[in-house]
């Protein structure tokens, strides 16, 4: 009598690569959108008064204090309940981008606040407009220092993108889980998945540490 389970074979390569590709795509989307939104929110938080800051802070705080997996489930059930079900990729990208934004905004806010007030005043006294001083002074000076933290947040987003599988997006861990239930070879598959994440994450984290050390000198 034959087995229900078929072992891992080269034919599965395409399936695994789809998972790899989907992980890469959704992480990239979340990092790009999260960085842009985070830059804007971080700028607003660094420049605005206490009240705006408190309101923005409270909203971002919710995004940081509720587990990502719950946010994903809530969002995708909500859009389903109001009658606009979304593709898992779209729903996942939205939630993951906002989650990224919450962390990025803190990083960028710190960067903007590290620019000395006297430099901004000096820029204005040289006849720059407000936006010119932002573009030529605050951005380049403030953003240089935040690169290692930015990289750290981006790396954690790549790892957190695995959670989008919970709403049905076929990223790497979900494809591997399906392969496991078919082949019953969890160890081989999972070790492969782990190596993939490690290969992406480790060199970048080493690079981040290197940049940090170089900037500290």
């Amino acid at each position: 009598m034959g087995s229900f389970f078929t072992p891992l074979s080269w034919n599965d390569t395409g399936f695994i690569l789809t998972g790899v590709w989907n992980t890469v795509i959704i992480s990239t989307v979340a990092i790009v959108i999260g960085t842009i939104l985070g830059l804007m929110v971080g700028f607003i938080r660094a420049e605005s008064n206490k009240l705006t800051n408190a309101i923005l802070g409270a909203v971002l705080d919710v995004l940081r204090s509720v587990p990502l997996i719950i946010q994903l489930i809530l969002f995708s059930t909500y859009v389903g309940a109001i009658g606009h079900p979304m593709d898992p990729f779209v729903a996942g990208s939205i939630v993951l981008s906002l989650y990224t934004m919450a962390f990025m905004s803190e990083v960028f806010r710190g960067g903007f606040e590290s620019v000395q007030q006297s430099m901004k005043v000096a820029a204005r006294s040289l006849g720059m407009t407000y936006w010119q001083s932002v573009y030529h002074i605050s951005l380049p000076i403030g953003m240089r220092a935040v690169f290692p933290s930015w990289l750290g947040v981006s790396l954690s987003v790549i790892k957190d993108s695995a959670l989008v599988s919970v709403i049905g997006y076929m990223e790497l861990l979900r494809t591997s889980e399906q392969l496991i239930s078919r082949t019953q070879q969890p160890l081989e598959i999972l070790i492969g998945v782990g190596i993939f994440y490690f290969i992406i994450s480790y060199p970048l984290s080493v690079y981040g540490k290197y940049v940090e050390r170089k900037m500290a000198l």
Binding site: S65, Q71, L74, E177, L187, L190
Partner: protein, 221 residues
């Protein structure tokens, strides 16, 4: 919006959700305590020059920091199963969290220890303190102050990440919520309550941590 909220179902099941929240706290506290103990050993091993210990520590730390938490949990749940070690959902989530906490905290401890200038040690020795005394009264208190906040963050992270238990059928807050909503299909209501509970738990932890730090580090920088 033509969705009708039915909160009654949730209120009836609220005690069970509280029980789930208790399991969440339980697993994250335990993973922190054991994680801290292992992290101390890993940090010492990494700073040491005995090669085998050194390699184990570096391998552990880098794997824990560079792979997703969900991967660790699958590894504990499915991967170890292939080796004949069958862990319960609770044990695999706990194991994975311990593994990751130990990896992250080891780096925190090492960084905190190395941030204390060597001159502090020499100064305390020259004041006539023994090795033990200088660690006990000079080095470790300063180090503790620097690692206190990263440790709090790691604890909050553990609480949030224990929610991955939902994927292996563990009975913590998320898993319990998932089970309860599947009985009644009031998915939104149940998960909204769960989200609020997570929010309150993390806030409670952060507030009490800052109160404790004010007490502990009173009059210091």
């Amino acid at each position: 919006m033509d969705y009708e909220f039915h909160w009654n179902t949730v209120f009836q099941k609220f005690p069970e959700m509280l029980q789930g929240a208790f399991v969440t706290l339980h697993v994250s506290v335990l993973s922190m305590l054991i994680g801290i103990a292992i992290a101390v050993l890993l940090a010492i091993a990494k700073m040491n020059s005995i090669k085998p210990f050194n390699y184990v520590a570096i391998g552990w730390i880098e794997i824990a920091r560079n792979t997703p938490a969900l991967f660790q949990i699958y590894m504990a749940y499915f991967g170890l199963g292939a080796l004949g070690i069958h862990l319960s959902p609770y044990a695999s989530v706990l194991g994975a969290l311990i593994f990751i906490n130990a990896g992250y905290l080891a780096e925190t401890f090492r960084g905190g220890f190395q941030s204390i200038p060597k001159t502090q040690y020499s100064a305390s020795k020259s004041l006539g303190m023994s090795s033990f005394q200088s660690y006990r009264y000079i080095i470790l208190p300063q180090m503790f102050r620097r690692i206190y906040h990263p440790m709090t963050n790691q604890f909050v992270w553990s609480i949030l990440m224990s929610s991955l238990g939902i994927l292996v059928g563990m009975g913590e807050l998320s898993g319990e919520t998932q089970r309860l909503q599947s009985l009644s299909f009031r998915t939104l209501e149940f998960f909204i309550v769960a989200a609020v509970m997570y929010y309150l738990i993390t806030k409670l932890v952060l507030i009490s941590s800052s109160l404790i730090s004010r007490k502990l580090f009173r009059g210091e920088i």
